[in-house]
């Protein structure tokens, strides 16, 4: 169960401060982004009236999200936010799905190591019958050390980053839509009068603090919902694999937590994004 407790942090010193970041998260986020950009470029190149397979896949996603945004935000604003919504959905979906890819580097490394052990190599030691340790001087040790393929959404930083981005976008939209005065008035609730003397003691209004706390808790719950589901799902797969000593990869569990829960949570996150933006409209 070591995979759960160990957090591998890399540190960089910048302007006298030390920033630490999660190596695997950064690498996997870049891989996800690279795949998305590549797919977009390939599709863009041979766009056609008779859609190819990949084009029809993207058309399916975009049509589905277009229906949701246009029916919630209206035609003009819905189309304006559609690229954002599509990007959020596809990034989270691919992030959630990427962990079902097997780590072939480590697999080939283990195969080579097992073969070397069979021919009497001193560099490989089997700690139990299914786990092995490789001396770092062996040429294939880099394959064993290849970072885990993990979902970027498994890390709280990615989820909080996304939800804070959406908080800022939604509120900027709200201020633009209603003007700063009406936007601030929205926080006062319907009961507290906003004229004359009452204006100067606005800070006594209990609804003000409730509303501000409500907005903060929206953002926190937005991030933690995705984090908890993906992190929990990944944890279950790891635990069950370690209980059965990784003899069989738990295919059913991966299908449920990787594919199915992944798409449901990506959809939930996207729907809530649309809802939070739409709430600022009124």
């Amino acid at each position: 169960m070591d995979e759960l407790g160990v957090v591998k942090l890399a540190e960089i010193a910048l302007f006298g401060n030390v920033f630490s970041y999660h190596k695997s998260m950064i690498i996997m986020t870049w891989i996800v982004m690279a795949i998305l950009v590549l797919m977009a470029i390939i599709t863009r190149k041979k766009i056609n009236l008779i859609p190819s397979r990949i084009q029809s896949l993207f058309e399916l996603i975009i049509e589905f999200l277009d229906d949701i945004t246009v029916s919630t935000l209206g035609k003009k604003d819905g189309r304006k936010f559609l690229p954002l919504i599509c990007a959020v959905f596809m990034f989270i979906l691919l992030s959630n799905w990427i962990s079902i890819l097997p780590n072939i580097f480590r697999f080939f490394g283990a195969v080579i190591a097992a073969g070397a052990n069979m021919f009497g190599s001193e560099l490989v030691t089997f700690t139990s019958w299914a786990t092995l340790e490789v001396d770092p001087s062996a040429w294939y040790s880099f394959l064993i050390k290849f970072p885990n393929i993990e979902e970027p959404t498994k890390f709280l930083a990615t989820d909080l980053g996304l939800s804070i981005m959406i908080l800022i976008i939604a509120h900027t939209y709200g201020i633009r839509q209603n003007g700063i005065g009406n936007y601030l008035k929205g926080y006062m609730g319907d009961v507290w009068p906003t004229t004359g003397f009452w204006k100067f003691i606005f800070f006594l209004n209990p609804f003000l603090y409730m509303n501000i706390l409500g907005e903060i808790s929206n953002t926190v719950s937005h991030a933690f919902r995705l984090f908890g589901n993906i992190f929990g799902g990944g944890m279950i797969v790891v635990i069950v694999s370690s209980l059965i000593h990784s003899v069989i990869v738990p295919v059913g569990l991966l299908a449920f937590f990787g594919l199915f829960a992944g798409i449901v949570q990506a959809f939930v996150f996207t729907m809530l994004t649309v809802t939070y933006i739409a709430q600022q409209k009124a």
Binding site: S71, T72, M210, L213, G214, S217, T275, Q279, A282
Partner: protein, 83 residues
Amino acid sequence: MEAITGQELIRAVALLGAGIAMGLGAIGPGIGEGFVAGKACEALGKRPDQSQLITRTMIIGQAISETTGIYSLIVALILIFVV
């Protein structure tokens, strides 16, 4: 196990109380919000043309039902960080 002194005991029980406060406080809003959304789905099945109105009312109703959950959260955070 070493003995626990007065001030530590208060801190320890406050932390335990924070857990119980959030735990029990989450039961009611959970069921209540479920009722709201469930009935909203039922209404949508009957009047799909009013989906905008029903969804908006559902979200507002749930936000208000959740108020007691937020109270529990505040009390729990006060017990953890202030007491």
